[in-house]
């Protein structure tokens, strides 16, 4: 197990190296020179080609791509993530440090609730197959999958914030500042972010659960005199979650993707917006830093998913 984790971590390092190198090259291929993007009307004439070359030189942008990458990597390892080209006083590590907890807060809640609610709906639908509870749960799951996040966000905002005035329209408050306000502000974004995953998880859980409750060992469990709840939770659920875990691992990526939209609609200062704005502005150091961090998170969640298989299914061996 330990060897397996170590081996996977070493793999992860290579994956991250390849990922960051590709992104490093790709952002430089994007059209648009980041040096030119945020100029003032008065300073343009002072920007002679020589001055631009000088600025480029100072930023190291005139060097060979591989050399630039090497320098960036070296700096990263020493804790210097560079500075934003756009927000000149903003240290990339600090920016990510500010934004990441927000997206993680949002993402963890979305992940948690989509998993819990999705699995519950799926289990109810499977156990009550063909009855009204199944119909309702399946309907909810299908609706959840097909609903467009953007539309849902705006509709909820109109209903719950503008009409009913129950929830704040938008914004973010850190949880340690004001727990109640923070939670109220996050209700709608979390619903938007989790809704798709919720549907996917519910449907998959239902299918997988239906498969599992037909198994011989479930009959055995019944023959032991166990309650239905004990059978579902102890005997069926763990087995039926094995395929669901894979999908939940994938949801981490979708949550980062969905965060781009949700953070924009609800004015939440998270990684999604940071990334989009950085790409728009060709803000190389920010893009690179963010990709690295998100890459690490995705690689780690994959690892956690793979390790958790072992907990769900003792037949899985790590070699």
């Amino acid at each position: 197990m330990v060897t397996y984790i170590i081996r996977r971590l070493i793999q992860a390092v290579f994956i991250l190296l390849i990922l960051t190198f590709i992104v490093f090259g790709a952002v430089r291929l994007l059209p648009g020179d980041p040096l030119l993007m945020f100029l003032n009307a008065t300073d343009i004439e002072a920007l002679s080609p020589e001055a631009l070359d000088q600025a480029r030189h100072e930023l190291g942008l005139d060097r060979n791509l591989v050399v630039q990458y090497g320098i960036w990597l070296g700096d990263i390892l020493q804790g210097d993530w560079g500075k934003s080209l756009h927000f000149k006083n903003a240290n990339v590590l600090q920016m990510i440090g500010q934004r990441m907890p927000v997206t993680i807060h949002l993402g963890v809640l979305a992940f948690f609730f989509s998993s819990v609610i999705g699995i519950t709906l799926g289990v109810i639908a499977a156990v009550r197959r063909g009855r009204w509870a199944d119909t309702v749960a399946t309907l909810l799951a299908n609706t959840a999958i097909t609903i467009p996040i953007f539309w849902l966000g705006i509709i909820m905002m109109l209903v719950f914030s503008v009409e009913l005035e129950w929830l704040p329209v938008a914004g973010y408050t850190p949880i340690n500042e004001d727990f109640w306000l923070s939670t109220r502000k996050l209700i709608m974004p979390v619903i938007c972010l989790m809704i798709g995953s919720l549907g996917a998880v519910a449907r998959l859980t239902r299918t997988s659960m239906l498969e599992v409750i037909r198994q011989d060992y479930i009959r055995t469990a019944w023959s032991k005199g166990l309650r239905e709840r004990a059978i579902v939770i102890k005997h069926a659920l763990k087995n039926s979650l094995i395929p669901v875990i894979t999908v939940m691992g994938l949801q981490v990526r979708f949550i980062f993707g969905g965060a781009v939209l949700v953070e924009k609609v609800f004015a939440i200062p998270g990684m999604g917006r940071l990334m989009v704005e950085a790409v728009d502005g060709s803000d190389y150091p920010v893009i690179q830093g963010a990709v690295l961090v998100i890459g690490i998170i995705v690689v780690l969640t994959n690892l956690i998913v793979d390790i958790s298989y072992g907990w769900f299914d003792p037949r899985v061996r790590y070699e």
Partner: protein
């Protein structure tokens, strides 16, 4: 003393293709300490009969339409399928062992977890006692080094060992009745014999009754005191083991016996398989289900409905033909 009496049990499956009368008026009984065999080809309804007694039929599509299951003086079919009364009987009073040791144990729970949940449920044991008892049980069923292996998962055991675990589990709460549904079908012949012997010893030791459900007459021959032969959802013949083996009355039983090798017989006897295939249980004609395959059929068989069981000698037989006269 009669422990379990099943009367006129009918279990039907309402499928998309039509009505399947899997169990169609089955009656049998078992006494305390007795070993009874229920024999029949695959798909004849013998497993469904046993599942029905414990109301373990998946519903829908399965439905117990009629009948009584009298156990300890109570009709189990009066209780709701998954209600507390039924649950206290399952595993506690009546335990089952299933055919497939590879799939009948939960792959994600350790052997200890699977045994201990019964101990805590039916005997309210604490964790420590559960562990001691589980180790004891596993030792009894012949699992070497039980202390160490108790936390292993099913996939770490061989097929025979898993069936031993199943037996240990089934016996863990001292049930009055053990129903073994094809307990040895999936294991090799040597293991088969060991397991049957083990079961026989254990039920004697615990004074537990045992129903062995099997398609293999040879299996029951050695262990069962009485035998019920089932065909197409009905019991076609019943009687003591000796009688059935020595004087089979029903053409089906005769056919079955012809395809079982025997050590006590003249040499060179050819094993003769029963002609034809078991019937499809969907939308059966009212006549005897064995009719198409029966070598003894007479006109009456075609004209009248399937006969009820009636005493013939020491046995009960459901047939119009006096096979004694026609057997070569």
């Amino acid at each position: 003393m009669t422990l379990l009496t099943v009367e006129n049990l009918k279990t039907y499956f309402h499928t998309d293709f039509g009505l399947v009368k899997a169990v169609d008026g089955v009656s049998y009984e078992i006494n305390e300490g007795e070993i009874v065999g229920i024999v029949g080809e695959s798909g004849c309804g013998k497993s469904v009969t046993q599942l029905s007694t414990l109301q373990l039929i998946t519903s829908p599509p399965g439905m117990i339409e009629d009948g009584k299951v009298i156990f300890d003086g109570r009709n189990l079919l009066d209780y709701p399928a998954n209600g507390p009364e039924m649950r206290s009987i399952r595993g506690g009073k009546i335990a089952m062992i299933f055919q497939e040791p590879m799939t009948s144990l939960n792959p994600t729970l350790s052997v200890f977890q699977q045994i201990s949940e019964m101990l805590s449920l039916h005997l309210q044991m604490d964790k420590e006692t559960q562990r001691k008892r589980a180790i004891e049980l596993l030792t009894q069923v012949g699992i070497p080094d039980a202390k160490r292996r108790i936390d292993d998962y099913p996939h770490q055991f061989s097929g025979g060992m898993r069936q031993r675990v199943m037996i240990a589990m089934a016996l863990s709460c001292n049930p009055k009745l053990l129903i073994a549904d094809e307990p040895t079908t999936a294991v090799d012949v040597t293991t088969q014999a060991q397991l049957l012997l083990l079961m026989q010893n254990l039920v004697r030791q615990y004074h537990t009754s045992l129903i062995i459900v099997t398609h293999n007459l040879g299996v029951v021959a050695r262990y069962a005191q009485r035998i019920y032969v089932m065909y197409a959802g009905r019991i076609v013949e019943s009687g003591s083991c000796d009688d059935i083996f020595n004087q089979p009355k029903h053409p089906y039983t005769i056919g079955l016996l012809k395809c079982v090798p025997r050590l006590d017989e003249e040499e060179d006897r050819r094993l003769v398989p029963i002609e034809g295939l078991p019937p499809n249980l969907i939308n059966m004609p009212p006549t005897c289900a064995f009719l198409p395959r029966c070598p003894y059929k007479i006109d009456r068989c075609r004209e009248e409905p399937w006969p009820a069981l009636k005493p013939v000698g020491n046995q009960q037989v459901a047939c119009y033909v006096d096979t004694k006269l026609t057997v070569q």
